[in-house]
């Protein structure tokens, strides 16, 4: 396959590595070192896509991240990636790319009809059309998305692998152009740990297409020397193909790196914490606004130079340059050197006297000063331009044949990262651009991104920035000199935001500002006519600056034209907000390796293996896995739970309660501290006693509960709910460290150290005996709500005689690495009693039969202990957190929701949890909701369903009949009862 536009020599492509690839199904060839864009241009592909709204043919305009048109889908199947810019896709063998729009093809697109309907599809089209009638969007969405949408995402899970890295450095240098390389070098020479990142496969930035000399050697030789120097430094890390896309607080930056060398990982997210940052990302060239400025063949002047010098592609034969500054002349010089023909250089300035224009002129280029391109002509590509006087009467002077127009409207420093870091930008009238204002973080901008465009100045400023950054972090800069490039004379830029209005056909032609969103000059004017004034509103109305390129090329033009329309200055209009990411980042890169099994830690108890062996399904509680139930052959959840409940109440059950939080609270002030946190009287607890405790938030609402035991005068063992463990410890530490530093209390988490095996049921005492328990287990010696240290199976354990089931019950606390052993021994010892392991579901049923709450299921942060009927455990003789709030008017008002039980009238239906309680049978709106069911189970030992919940004024409604309505519309008649269904006197637990 011929590459008709490839130059015979030159460029940085590797001609000994030809590569084949396909574009829209056609097989084409390029070379290693090409981008997809340069290879397409080499093959003469002028039309690479269709525009968003009008389906106009579009070609490659830029050579970097600012490219608005060449949006492609790369790869196939699950590996497909939509909406990449061809200018940023490195060419690889076998690469498959397609245009994201164009039906039936990019060269013949039926959607082109939209171009004629421009009046209908102008700014605000979606708002005007779809806000008026709600249904119309739903009817049209599918069609519109296909017509206007970008690429398509694969539907399956992403098969690619990503990773994330954390990095630290003294000086992070973003961008490896002349300024960045100089900065990295001087910072490294000062001894700083340097991280240099650049988005290209090779270092150099603008130098990759540069024909100047630095330190009296060709730029490419200087570049090679710098790269070699940096690579050799042990304290310098260089990241290529790596884009700094986010600048966050505390000099924390995120970078994304494409990896083509490591086939296991496609993208790597770097989280960098830098002491100092040097921003040297360069600048983006601005487009110019004139009729039909989107025809394929209209390109940025700098892109034309880049394609010629870096990729050895001259993308046409006849060139016209349209510029308002000197840098545009470079394209003409490069074009002529590459053997092309330059029709004319159209310069809107009258006075042209810089070095570059002089060179161009000496090479024979014709310069038309005081002239503008009044419009471009062509169908599927540029054929000619018309030129007219800059101070125009609106009459075109002449027509110039050309197939490429190189335009330069000046430069926009890439202030994105500076802005993201919180810095403001200031308008510089002289080069007519925004430059970074004072940095607000430890950063400094250098080179073109700081509004300095000459090579010589960039080298000097980079060198200084690197030294300065190193010095600020305490390094003494070395005595090295900045590299030097020859001084250049250049004339001043003349701002040109649009060309004079023309008469005739060109007057009706579209003038694009944001190419990717098809935002035109007339769209902006329409928005202004309709009353939009703020740039952020105008952006949202016209889509200016949206899209994958985020308006890198045309945004400032848009803002300047808004300023013109409003009669304001550009700084008065300002820019829209710069937000991360600078360029699109895959979700996969953000997720990194935290997917699949590593999505979240799965915490397992020491008894997990036994539970797996015994076929328990697991329930996720917080990060923990807890055995849900233990089905026998052929049992479902319901039957297994009934069996487990009955066996526990009749003989003995065993449960893994290891996930409960356990905190050692020690110190001379431990009692005082707990008095302030829990509602009950701690001082009354003698050593060896246990007590149920409830902790309130400052608002008086129940926050957590658990049993605590007093192990000594100055030592307590406090348990928390499974999900609340970490929060309760933090809450305790918060009060200790910030409010009561005078209290001598130490908190130590024992959750992981001790595993808890609960034995419940009338035969639990017998099981302990069979395990060789060495303490007296008789009720008088070891009564309910006490704790003892003991030996079981000759292992030291701590026994608690506490009960969450209402049965005679013990909790064995054993060292976690012996828990499996202890559990297996308990199973063996309990075999004679038919010991039955039970899971969390049975635990819930057993506690519900007793009316015990589960914090977080039965409470929701709006429930006081009084609402729960827990007045008995609220001390009147002391103060505690939340007590004051319990006296607030709303907490004492009559009619608050209160804790009650429910029984289905038919004694068969298990009410669905979450059901709302209403009065009467007719559900005629408005239906007052009286409360809800928070827990509901079938009670095997009672033989009927039971439910618990919160009901307005519930305590006084016992006996009333209500209707429970669930989310699916199911209705059950229930009677309000007391919230204790089983053994209300509590005889069994005291047995």
């Amino acid at each position: 396959m011929s590459q008709a536009f490839r130059l015979p020599v030159g460029g940085r492509i590797r001609r000994d590595e030809p590569l084949e690839f396909t574009f829209n199904g056609r097989t084409l060839s390029g070379f290693a070192g090409d981008t997809l864009a340069s290879a397409l241009l080499a093959n003469g592909c002028r039309v690479v896509g269709r525009s968003f709204k009008y389906h106009r043919p579009r070609g490659i305009m830029a050579a970097g991240a600012e490219e608005p048109n060449a949006i492609v889908q790369v790869g196939r199947g699950q590996h497909a990636e939509p909406n990449l810019k061809a200018t940023q896709v490195e060419l690889q063998a076998g690469l498959e790319a397609r245009s994201v729009r164009g039906w039936p093809s990019v060269n013949f697109d039926l959607g082109r009809i939209n171009d004629r309907l421009g009046g209908v599809l102008a700014a605000g089209f979606y708002y005007k059309t779809f806000m008026s009638s709600a249904g119309s969007w739903h009817r049209s969405e599918r069609f519109i998305r296909r017509a206007a949408g970008l690429g398509w995402a694969p539907t399956g899970s992403d098969p690619d692998r990503y990773e994330s890295r954390n990095a630290h450095c003294d000086v992070l240098v973003v961008g490896a152009g002349p300024a960045g390389l100089s900065a990295a070098r001087s910072a490294a020479l000062a001894g700083a740990r340097v991280l240099l990142v650049d988005d290209q496969p090779e270092l150099g930035g603008a130098l990759l297409a540069c024909r100047d000399t630095i330190d009296r050697m060709p730029a490419k030789d200087w570049l090679a020397a710098q790269a070699a120097f940096l690579e050799a430094q042990p304290r310098v890390r260089v990241l290529r193909r790596c884009t700094a896309f986010g600048y966050h607080d505390h000099n924390f930056l995120s970078l994304v790196q494409h990896d083509l060398t490591d086939h296991a990982v496609v993208q790597r997210l770097w989280r960098v914490r830098a002491k100092q940052v040097v921003l040297a990302q360069g600048a983006f060239e601005r487009s110019l606004v004139f009729p039909n400025n989107d025809l394929p063949g209209v390109m940025l002047a700098s892109a034309v130079s880049t394609y010629i010098r870096r990729y050895a592609v001259r993308p046409g034969c006849q060139l016209v340059v349209f510029t308002n500054n000197d840098s545009g002349y470079q394209a003409a010089i490069d074009w002529l050197e590459a053997g092309g023909q330059v029709e004319a250089i159209v310069d809107c300035r009258d006075d042209v006297r810089g070095d570059l224009p002089r060179t161009a002129q000496s090479m024979g280029a014709r310069i038309l000063t005081g002239t503008v391109v009044a419009g471009a002509r062509g169908r599927s590509g540029l054929r000619s331009v018309e030129v007219a006087p800059a101070a125009g009467s609106g009459v075109a002077r002449q027509k110039l044949q050309c197939d490429v127009l190189a335009m330069s409207g000046g430069w926009n420093p890439a202030v994105h990262l500076h802005s993201q870091s919180g810095g403001r930008n200031q308008w510089q009238p002289e080069p007519a651009c925004f430059t970074p204002g004072n940095p607000v973080q430890a950063a400094v901008s250098a080179g073109a991104c700081n509004g300095v465009f000459g090579l010589r100045e960039c080298l000097a400023q980079g060198h200084q920035a690197g030294q300065e950054a190193a010095r600020r972090w305490g390094f003494e800069p070395a005595f090295d000199e900045a590299s030097e490039a020859p001084a250049m004379q250049s004339g001043a830029l003349m701002p040109l935001w649009r060309v004079p209005e023309m008469r005739g056909r060109l007057a009706a032609s579209k003038q694009f500002i944001d190419y990717q969103n098809d935002t035109t000059l007339s769209d902006l004017r329409l928005a202004l006519r309709e009353g939009f004034e703020h740039i952020e509103h105008i952006k949202r109305y016209t889509a200016l600056g949206f899209g994958t390129d985020q308006g890198k090329m045309g945004n400032i033009n848009g803002m300047a034209l808004v300023a013109e329309g409003l009669g304001k200055t550009i700084p008065e209009v300002g820019t829209t907000t710069f937000r991360p990411p600078f360029t699109p980042v895959r979700f996969g890169a953000c997720a990194g390796g935290d997917v699949g099994d590593l999505y979240e830690p799965v915490r397992k108890t020491p008894l997990h293996e036994w539970q797996v062996e015994n076929g328990a399904p697991f329930e996720v509680v917080g990060q923990w896995l807890r055995a849900h139930y233990y089905p026998h052959e052929g049992e479902d959840l319901e039957t297994a739970v009934c069996r487990e409940c009955l066996a526990t109440r009749a003989s003995v059950g065993i449960m893994d309660a290891s996930t409960l939080g356990k905190i050692d609270v020690s110190g001379p002030d431990a009692e005082t501290f707990l008095e302030r946190l829990y509602t009950h009287d701690i001082a009354r607890m003698s050593v060896g006693r246990c007590a149920y405790g409830v902790m309130l938030g400052e608002d008086g609402m129940v926050m957590d509960d658990g049993v605590m035991a007093r192990l000594g005068p100055e030592r307590f063992y406090v348990t928390t709910t499974t999900g609340g463990a970490a929060n309760v410890l933090s809450w305790m530490e918060l009060w200790l460290q910030t409010e009561w530093p005078d209290l001598q209390v130490r908190l130590t988490s024992l959750t992981e150290t001790w595993s808890t095996i609960a034995l419940a049921g009338p035969n639990s005492r017998q099981v302990l005996r069979a395990m060789g328990c060495d303490v007296d287990l008789e009720p008088e010696a070891f009564p309910f709500m006490t704790t003892r240290t003991a030996r079981l199976e000759n292992e030291p354990v701590r026994l608690f005689r506490i009960s969450f089931s209402g049965e005679l019950a013990y909790e064995i606390n054993v060292r976690s690495d012996r828990a499996d052993f202890m559990w297996r021994r308990a199973m063996a010892a309990g075999a004679a009693f038919g010991i039955t392991p039970y899971g969390t579901e049975t635990m819930h049923v057993l506690r519900a039969e007793k009316g015990f709450i589960i914090v977080g299921q039965d409470t929701d942060g709006s429930v006081t202990p009084v609402d729960l009927g827990m007045n008995w455990m609220m001390s009147k003789s002391k103060d505690y957190i939340g007590r004051r709030s319990l006296a607030r008017p709303d907490c004492v008002r009559p009619g608050r929701k209160q804790w009650v039980g429910f029984r289905s009238l038919d004694d068969r239906t298990v009410v669905r949890e979450g059901s709302q309680l209403v009065q009467g049978d007719t559900l005629e709106p408005p239906v007052p909701l009286l409360g809800h069911v928070s827990s509901s189970y079938f009670s095997a030992c009672l033989g009927y369903p039971i439910a618990l919940g919160l009901l307005n004024d519930g305590k006084r409604r016992h006996g009333e009949e209500l209707l429970a309505v669930d989310a699916g519309g199911g209705r059950t008649r229930v009677r309000v009862v007391a919230p204790v269904f089983y053994d209300p006197e509590g005889e069994r637990q005291h047995a």
Binding site: E163, S164, R165, N166, A167, H168, R193, D262, A264, V265, R271, R273, G593, D594, D597, L598, E600, P601, V602, R603, K604, T605, P606, H608, E609, W624, D664, S666, G667, P668, Q744, R746, T748, L750, T751, E752, T753, W754, E795, R815, S816, D817, R818, A819, D820, F821, R824
Partner: protein
């Protein structure tokens, strides 16, 4: 049925399922320690260096540093230390007797922690992927320790004179996640896991 050991390790199941790759040529090796005891020591408002010297313990010179060889003392916070010793070795008297010098508070955490030692040229780069603190040997060098996160698990991380060696102390219930994370994340660079039968300091 053969008698099961009294002690089970949090990584028993993981180690059974993990097919070691790389072996001797692994870029990172993970040693899973067994047989050590852990105690949490709390001491405030005292000359702790003196207090520890009286107990015969090596006192780390500064917060977030550790000291010792057989018995290792990690300084975790203003008034908090972690003591790790080979189990069965003569622990400081006050631990054996259960009567620490006033006003020290001691909690036995044995069984609640899992200790891993990573070694090899791939060790620090591997940790760098999941740990946000600066692991450069010049910053985290000999005798340093930090309580931090490895991926989504809290860990105590300690560095040695040998920059290719890092010790991780992980809470028991997080151990399998951490091991899985190390195995998955270390995959491309070949990671090997092995149990170390008895805890030996300095290994």
């Amino acid at each position: 049925m053969p008698e099961r050991p009294r002690d089970t390790h949090a990584l028993d199941a993981f180690m059974k399922g993990f097919s070691a790759t790389g072996g001797g040529s692994a870029e990172a090796r993970v040693l899973v320690h067994q047989g050590f005891s852990v105690h949490n020591l709390r001491l405030r408002g005292q000359d702790h260096a003196q207090a520890f010297a009286r107990c015969g313990l090596p006192a780390p010179p500064a917060n977030n540093e550790w000291a010792g060889d057989d018995e290792t003392l990690y300084w975790l916070g203003p008034d908090e230390w972690l003591l790790v010793c080979p189990e069965g070795m003569a622990t400081p008297d006050f631990i054996a007797s259960g009567a620490p010098p006033e006003p020290m508070t001691v909690n036995d955490l044995t069984g609640g922690w899992v200790m891993l030692t990573l070694s090899g040229p791939g060790a620090r780069p591997l940790l760098e992927r999941g740990c946000t603190i600066d692991l450069n040997p010049a910053v985290m060098g000999e005798g340093h320790c930090a309580q931090t996160l490895l991926a989504k698990s809290p860990v105590l991380l300690a560095t040695h004179a040998d920059p290719e060696r890092v010790t991780l102390l992980v809470r028991r219930s997080f151990a399998e996640y951490v091991a899985l994370w190390l195995a998955h994340t270390g995959e491309p660079c070949h990671i090997a896991f092995a149990f170390q039968a008895r805890h030996a300091a300095g290994s």
